[in-house]
Subunit: 130 residues, 3 copies
């Protein structure tokens, strides 16, 4: 039940550091080539690594001193040896110009992970907000 969980925890940690550190391409590469990101914060789904790279670069440029804090990661359902659904909570935490820290929002991510060439990647992420 927890087979790929450790690798997925590692990937989600790297993913957070990538977007927060402006490594936009690296963030996009946590998705499959045709990966999709859906969030109510943004008008349209983002599809494919080029668009995902642009998305992450814009986020980093517009959100200095901001961190994606990934928590409550669990495998919601194993579909096959190469596909599973993963749920997590993602907090957006920001240090303001006066050095105060605020939690900007709490989201839930529902990821469909697939194994491609031996690596687990996100095929689809759906973000929901409270």
């Amino acid at each position: 039940m927890t087979g790929p969980l450790l690798e997925i925890l590692n990937l989600l940690g790297k993913q957070a550091h990538a977007i927060d550190g402006g490594a936009a391409r690296q963030w996009a590469e946590t998705f499959t080539h045709d990966g999709v990101f859906r969030s109510p914060t943004y008008p349209e789904p983002v599809r494919g690594r080029d668009a995902l790279t642009e998305f992450a670069a814009a986020f980093a440029a517009n959100n200095p001193r901001t961190h994606h804090i990934v928590t409550n990661v669990c495998i919601d359902r194993e579909i096959s040896a190469d596909e599973c659904l993963v749920k997590a909570n993602l907090l957006i935490v920001r240090t303001t110009s006066s050095d105060a820290v605020s939690v900007d929002r709490v989201t839930t991510t529902d990821d469909r992970f697939v194994r491609r060439d031996g690596r687990w990647l996100i095929a689809e992420r759906a973000v929901t907000r409270d």
Copy 2:
């Protein structure tokens, strides 16, 4: 030393999503049949899955837009191959009616986990608050 940690991380993640999403019975089923939950926030210990289900249902009904954020999970002590003590910090995070997010409290959970029919479950949880 970390044998059951991955399964426990998965269970604690699922547990958080269960109570926050109103899946009260699913939350109760992360405990053993005679599992006990003790917290200074509540006057009496909660014992057994029926009472635990009621407890979780009441929490969800009374606390909309609230998340249990589980962090710092570690195995404090292995008692046997089928029993261990697990410590974690559990933050209660809430989105208010004005869409601000506040951390309501920081707690420490001390769980006694036991393996029953091959699955790790919580036999006793003691919550402490700062």
Copy 3:
């Protein structure tokens, strides 16, 4: 790629509980004997377990009701079977005298972990703040 991650997650959880609970020596023992801790919050690096113990004891004494919340843990690079670089975000969360909870700061930790006598320990930690 994720070989030592589970043991490292366990150690980082224990480390947080140790410093927050005033178990200063236990905190120091998550570092190697000659381990080094560097943080912009403090003027000089802290070197070796005696100095690390003093450091942790002073932190606990001066920061009641404070928690180190470790998140986004991932293996940034595996150097060898016995050495790896681990990145995480560490939030300092504090309950004030009026029982409000504030996130005091968000930091990033870059740890060089080494395996000594079969156990993974921190040889060097560099903390950066936003």
